[in-house]
């Protein structure tokens, strides 16, 4: 059965190896230019005021190939799990059901359970290995660039680094197998897999991830010397958002609150903030109000706890789906 | 060696047809004493029929004393059905061929020839019986 699984999967294996090798070459070739730019901008020794050094570093990188590769590599890691689910997972069982070859396989001296288990295990292992390698390579390669761009914990970057892509890929794969088994038509299963996978991943990114680990909550006195946003709308309603010094953090919410804990909405005093007022008068007036900045965020050191939690969830779902597949194959499939 | 053929529309059971063909071949001298009949596998490889049919035919022939089965070797003819009249077969066949040519030349169709022959044959056989 292992021989058969390998034989049916031979072409995909070679394509994957080729693609990984090609990407590997690209990363190896462009890696040194990043290190060089990093050293040249002296980012390591920049201490607390790194703005200029980082700028220089990034500009240097953008002039070379590494800038494009950075975007490309992240895109690849983002897309690969979906591709695996759609092209490896969905056809795995669906194609056999469509062509009737499952009736050929199930009459050989191998039980249905072993048939399914071998397919899932062999290709699942291949998936984990390939995506693991891919993610490790890109995460290592992009280390300095991620830092310079504000940290790996930011949503889109997070999804393409560390072990999370492996969790996504395994989930997508088993999801594809499940859809294929239930729908019994390859193309329809591929579409369904893509739809459900996208929904799951987007839900996780947008709504669920931030709750996986308890976020940090801090309240500082508002320093309005350089606000991130100061806006006066209709009826003198104000929106004030201060800047913060949390580097490499994923900020979930940044609000300006009064001493009662309510969000500050003004009203703006026309004497300081009206059209007749002096240039910095509004800022200074806001400063004098004793407002505070309320920050909810995940600091950089939440990266690995979040990665583990999210990967764990997707792997757990994958295992549940796999269990369902075994049950369905034994009881319901003909 | 004899080669069998089956007529699905003759109304005669397949195993009977095989038996008849063996007897026929023996009468015509195509199968002589000591000749081997084709193996069951050989027969069914050419004529797609149930092996049991062939076995049944061979068993019947053995019961009639015409053949004998030697286990592990094959089935062999044990008698001759030809008699002294075999020598006459040759010239008689020639005459038959000539007669057929004349019938054809006279404009008889195949069905007419067959009907003429069969009715005359039957009448004569009954007379001489």
């Amino acid at each position: 059965m292992i021989w058969l699984t390998w034989r049916q999967f031979r072409t995909q294996t070679w394509i994957t190896v080729g693609a990984l090798a090609a990407l590997g070459v690209v990363l190896v070739v462009t890696g040194p230019s990043i290190a060089d730019a990093y050293d040249a901008a002296n980012v390591a020794a920049c201490g607390t005021d790194c703005g200029a050094a980082i700028s220089n570093f990034l500009n240097q990188v953008r002039t070379g190939a590494a800038g494009i590769v950075y975007q490309l590599a992240s895109a690849v890691v983002y897309v690969v799990p979906a591709v695996i689910g759609v092209f490896w997972g969905a056809p795995l069982i669906a194609r056999e059901l469509e062509t009737g070859t499952h009736r050929l396989a199930w009459n050989q001296t191998v039980t249905r359970t072993r048939w399914l288990a071998t397919k899932l295990a062999v290709i699942g292992a291949g998936t984990a290995l390939a995506v693991g390698l891919l993610s490790w390579a890109v995460t290592s390669w992009a280390y300095h660039l991620d830092d310079a761009h504000g940290g790996r914990i930011l949503p889109l970057t997070f999804s393409t680094r560390g072990i999370v892509p492996v969790g996504y890929a395994l989930f997508a794969f088993v999801l594809g197998v499940t859809m294929g088994m239930l729908i019994r038509r390859t193309v329809a299963a591929m579409a369904a897999t893509l739809a459900v996978y996208s929904l799951a991943v987007i839900s996780m990114q947008e709504w669920i991830r931030e709750h996986l680990v308890a976020a940090s909550h801090v309240t500082n006195p508002l320093d309005i010397s350089s606000p991130e946003l100061l806006m006066i709308g209709d009826n003198d309603e104000m929106t004030v958002i201060g800047s913060h010094s949390l580097s490499d953090a994923w900020v979930l919410s940044n609000q300006t609150i009064t001493h009662t804990g309510q969000v500050f909405t003004g009203p703006a005093d026309p004497q300081y903030c009206g059209p007749e007022a002096a240039v910095r008068a509004c800022d200074q007036w806001v400063n004098s109000l004793g407002l505070r900045q309320d920050l909810v965020y995940h600091p950089a050191d939440h990266f690995w706890p979040l990665q583990l939690a999210e990967t764990g969830i997707f792997i757990a779902i994958a295992l549940l789906l796999a269990g369902f597949c075994f049950w369905w194959t034994r009881r319901h499939l003909t | 060696m004899i080669e069998f053929h089956l007529d699905g529309r003759s109304g005669v059971a397949p195993y009977m047809q095989l038996i008849q063909q063996v007897r026929q071949a023996m009468r015509l001298g195509l199968l002589a004493e000591g000749d081997q009949l084709p193996t069951v596998k050989d027969v069914v490889s050419k004529v797609a029929i149930n092996p049991n049919t062939v076995l049944k035919a061979y068993r019947e022939l053995e019961y009639e004393g015409l053949v004998a089965a030697r286990p592990g070797v094959g089935t062999f003819v044990t008698r001759t059905l030809t008699d002294e009249s075999l020598a006459a077969h040759g010239p008689l066949r020639e005459e038959l061929i000539a007669w057929l040519a004349r019938a054809r030349a006279a404009g008889l169709t195949a069905e007419s020839i067959e009907a003429l022959f069969v009715s005359t044959f039957r009448a004569r056989i009954e007379e001489s019986a």
């Binding site: 059965m1 062509t99 050989q108 003909t334 | 490889s45 029929i49």
Partner: protein, 296 residues
């Protein structure tokens, strides 16, 4: 008396409200070539799928070669199966299929498989997807045969083949069972396909077994009676009417009786197997009850 190769008692299969098999009882003896005949939709594929363990029955019991169909590797090794349309892996070559068989079956006879492929003139390196219909069927049969099963089950194996391919398929199948002691169950919707090779017949119509038995016995026990039009109550006892047709002053009956028919007012004729099956096919509309099988 060896044990039956397939024994079913009250076997039924229901899909939602549709009954694919109703109350089928069979005792098929070993060493036969069995023809399973019936129109499309009669339940032949369902019965065969249950026999090879692809489907569980809804009611009743079935035993194949003394074991339960879905019971595991040992049972699977004893039964060779070719599903309808002979599914094979289009992307794998002929040789790959043999390797597949060798890997998956402990009882695999590689020499037999190679010899058959050679005799059939198949190119081992050819992708199976490029084979003709007849060649596919032969490849699928080779896969089923080379694990040396005690029972071969073939679902409409020659339905979509041209006459030459049909002949070659049956030749190959008969050659195999001539050398190896195996039973075969073949299904078809045309009895003419199977007449030459079957010595046991099962007629399945509208989910029920109508008649089953040795072909010789069936042909001995069934006759066509033609005579003056009459009331059917006057037939000799032990005679069962399978099909009747009355035109003007003549009645034509297809009957089954275990004793010889002495009634001189009838002309008694032999039936062909096709006539017999057709009579049972027409029975479905008039007598929906199943008929008892002949003694095995």
């Amino acid at each position: 008396m060896s044990r039956p190769v397939l024994q079913a008692e009250g076997l039924s299969k229901r899909y939602g409200r549709r009954l694919a098999l109703s109350d089928c009882t069979l005792a098929i003896p070993a060493g036969r070539v069995v023809g399973l005949v019936g129109p499309n939709g009669a339940g032949k594929t369902t019965l065969l799928h249950i026999a090879v363990g692809l489907l569980p029955p809804t009611a009743g019991s079935i035993e194949v070669l003394g074991g339960h169909p879905a019971s595991g590797a040992a049972q699977l090794a004893k039964v060779g199966f070719v599903a309808q349309d002979a599914p094979i892996y289009a992307g794998l070559s002929v040789a790959d299929h043999l390797r597949f068989g060798a890997h998956m079956n402990p009882g695999w006879d590689q020499r037999l498989a190679d010899e058959r492929i050679g005799r059939l003139g198949l190119d081992p390196s050819q992708k199976a997807g490029k084979l003709s219909g007849g060649q596919r069927a032969q490849l699928a049969l080779t896969l089923a045969i080379a694990k040396l099963p005690d029972l071969l089950i073939l679902d409409e194996p020659i339905a979509s083949l041209d006459p030459l391919a049909r002949r070659e398929f049956l030749q190959g199948l008969m050659a195999y069972i001539a050398e190896h002691d195996a039973s075969v169950i073949l299904s078809s919707h045309l009895v003419s396909d199977l007449e030459r090779v079957c010595d046991y017949l099962v007629v399945l119509v509208a989910s029920r077994v109508r008649v089953s038995g040795e072909v010789d016995d069936l042909l001995t026990n069934h006759h066509r009676l033609t005579g003056a039009r009459r009331d059917l109550a006057n037939l000799p006892t032990g005679t069962e009417v399978i099909e009747e047709s009355h035109i003007d002053r003549q009645s034509t009956l297809t009957v089954r009786s275990t004793s010889p028919i002495d009634d001189r007012s009838f002309t008694v004729e032999q039936l062909t197997l096709e006539d017999l099956v057709l009579a049972y096919l027409s029975q479905q509309t008039t007598h929906p009850q199943p008929v008892l099988e002949t003694t095995p």
